[in-house]
Symmetry: C2
Subunit: 482 residues, 2 copies
């Protein structure tokens, strides 16, 4: 392992990250909310740690190898998650324990959006803004991670995208192609955020709320500045804007990149993952509306409005709320969680297992049945007219099974802390899929569960965000050899 | 499809099956329990239907093709399940609805052991014996299905056993090898049953209970003649005998066949599935005892006694009970159900996904991590020193994913009938894994759930018993072509 280069990168990351506390200092000064000391101290701690890490190795210049990518990516979310917690821990209001501060910070950076805080509406503006900014930065990291780094590392079948999608990355070296790609992707990410913020603002949000919620929308984060989330605004227009931007952000950014470069939307229509994603969302929305209406949970107008919003919010793994879906007829919360397990498209800010993997698993299931009837036939798994290499399918299977096993292992952990079954499975599912809200005791917030449970969920959020293997691989002796 | 030959086989099956109602008629006469009319009528209906089916095609002699095997196997469990319900439906005590009678019959033949009846202790002896006999016959069918037919059909990776295990079947033709194999296996099955019954009898059971429970033990069925199941006897000796025979019956019968033919037990020790099975059971037993003790659910003596029995009973998917494990600290019922999802070894009477498949999935997960670190290395999945063909691993994946998807689909179905989450998932899990007991509302019996839920569970029991694909393949247009 190239420890020196990693230190240099980590130092630079921390110093850059410390700058992101600056806006909150300004906002604190502007609103006189009293939280500026926490942010100044947090910024100082983060910057100094980064500087001290960087200083002794600042002159080392060495090309990063592919394998170093794992470590850099893991450090980004773990170390920044830890240092990101400093202002939250130091602030007087909300008075968070160390565990709660780390939970909130990791939940932000991983764009999970699970919160331990009740009483958002009365928090200092600078703290509120900081939480939203953490999500936005996390989303930015994910885009690069998902579109550029994971396919290169070959995580969970995502090498598929390296070979087959006409995406921006086809090269093997970490730099300089990554820089170029990252710039283009961030430009798209920024444009989406600005458009989304303007739309929210025109629809009636305050400037502060519009920017804050645009951050959480485009990052598929789900943090809000109000306990009632998007429901606070009680505005169909705002809900429709949220639905639109949640969907856009859950689509592979490579497709946005192509659409933008070629000024054409035909790539979307030809992409099998996009088509399957739209199919899944549409059928879940229609089914949910039907159940809400037939069970007389709502009359038809509200059923359509809430059904559409909640399904898109949960299925994209955003986690915004306008209605308490945990109180809906029990088949619906369960189905919505399933949709969150599927999650967004690969290369998006969405969580979950990703649509493409589920699609490949289904196709493989169909192939098995065909093979039973025609044992000697050679039946390829096809995606968009092309055969998918067996190597990719195996990687997807590996991902799927390890995902489930970790889910089950962490579920056992949560049950062992004494939580009931519904709370436990929904909390782990929500954290691992980077969704946010749960059911049972964690339907509204995560403040009341034991600390051990919170730490398990912190690990779950990181595992989910890092597509599991990025983190797991660091625990193999093999990785550290040579 | 060779419809005429299938009819002929079905007719013979029904006529033979009708004979199995004979013992109950004798027992009814012996105990004067009044249920003889139900059995005589049921036997007549079954025999006449069989005769009428067989008569027009009795002279057709045509070799069965491999593909016909699917249909015969499915007919065995569905048609016999239906006709097996006739005496239960016709009997005055218990007064079962049509749905309940079919549920009980399919639960018996599939060796699931889920019951809709409360008040077993006061039932006519002939009915009690009949339920146990259904399980024993089901177990007999499973042994042939699992050791001889499934590997030939290539279901879910079981072709592994065709090529690699030194089992009795290596041929491709359904007859006459199957007859020879079946005889040897049934001989082992019968010997185990007799030994088990004698052991129970020596340990203090009545002759009737000893035979009845030996049927349910060796078939991994779990039906009892008492509401309190094995707990009724309150005898450590009986519990130890049950534990021993549940374990033996959950092991691949090919290994028993070899041990018997070669007079040696070394095959067991060399079998990777057997070793992994013993490892899983041991760790689960130890962990469960530790939790029962540490949480002060029981003192150490009872913790060992109940922990050992319930883990073996649930992990082998037998479903006998001595304690109500659904009331244990919630992490335990969940973990026990997980063990039931793993289930018994392939080629045994046990249910679940089978140990070998879980072992292969774990090995594949480990391989994926190795591949991330060494992207260009060729890393085979090995089992007992030999490489497992990719084709087999793919089949196992296909099985695993379709199993989970059906579990989830049927779970949604049960939730839609209004059952709570714990009841719903445990009921589907129990039925699909052919376990028997559930949690929540179905911890004691299945009498109070809606009829629709019962029919979904009937399908689940059949799907589980037929290793899913045997049944699914019949619903493909491909299967019926040509
Ligand atoms: K989220
Ligand atoms: K059973």
């Amino acid at each position: 392992m190239n420890i020196v280069t990693t230190m240099r990168i980590l130092g630079i990351l921390l110093m850059l990250f410390s700058i992101t506390m600056m806006p909150s200092i300004l906002i604190s000064a502007l609103y006189k909310d009293g939280a500026h000391v926490a942010f100044i101290t947090g910024m100082a701690i983060t910057f100094i740690t980064g500087f001290v890490t960087w200083l002794p190795v600042r002159n080392v210049r060495k090309e990063l190898r592919t394998r170093d990518g794992f470590l850099v990516v893991v450090l980004f979310w773990t170390v920044l998650g830890l240092f990101g917690a400093t202002p939250l821990f130091l602030a007087e209001h909300p008075a968070l324990s160390f565990t709660d501060a780390v939970f909130e910070s990791v939940s932000g950076l991983s764009t999970t959006g699970a919160t331990v805080i009740v009483g958002l509406d009365s928090l200092p503006e600078s703290i509120l803004f900081y939480r939203q900014l953490l999500q936005w930065l996390g989303g930015m990291g994910i885009i690069v991670l998902a579109v550029a780094i994971l396919p290169m590392l070959g995580i969970g079948g995502m090498q598929l995208y390296r070979a087959e999608t006409p995406g921006p990355v086809k090269d093997n070296k970490l730099t300089p192609r990554i820089t170029e790609t990252a710039k283009a992707l961030w430009y798209i990410y920024l444009s989406l955020t600005v458009t989304c913020a303007l739309a929210y603002w025109f629809a009636g949000m305050s400037g502060f709320d519009a920017i804050s919620h645009s951050f959480a929308t485009v990052a598929i984060g789900g943090f809000s500045t109000h306990d009632a989330s998007i429901g606070y605004f009680n505005s169909p227009a705002i809900e429709l804007i949220a639905v639109a931007f949640m969907l856009i952000s859950a689509v592979n950014f490579s497709l946005h990149f192509l659409a933008w470069r070629e000024r054409s939307i035909r790539h979307y229509l030809h992409d099998p993952e996009f088509r399957f994603f739209i199919f899944l969302i549409s059928t879940t929305v229609l089914g949910t509306i039907a159940v809400l209406w037939l069970t007389q949970t709502y009359d038809i107008g509200i059923a359509i409005r809430h059904g559409l919003f909640e399904v898109v919010s949960v299925a994209t793994t955003t986690g915004f709320g306008v209605a308490d879906f945990s109180q809906w007829p029990s088949v619906l919360p369960f189905t919505l969680f399933l949709a969150a397990f599927v999650g967004g498209c690969a290369g998006s800010t969405g969580g979950g297992m990703k649509v493409i993997r589920i699609l490949l698993i289904l196709k493989q299931g169909v192939r098995e049945i065909k093979r039973l009837v025609h044992p000697s036939a050679i039946i390829p798994v096809k995606l968009g007219g092309r055969s998918v290499p067996d190597r990719v399918i195996e990687a997807v299977w590996g991902f799927f099974s390890v995902y489930l096993m970790l889910f089950v292992a962490m579920l056992i952990g949560l049950l062992a802390t004494g939580l009931d079954q519904v709370t436990a499975w929904s909390a782990v599912g929500s954290a691992l899929n980077n969704l946010g809200p749960g059911l049972g005791e964690v339907a509204a917030h995560y403040g009341n569960i034991p600390d051990v449970a919170k730490w398990i969920l912190i690990v779950a959020m990181l595992l989910g965000r890092l597509e599991i293997f990025t983190l797991l691989v660091l625990f193999t002796p093999m990785f550290w050899r040579r």
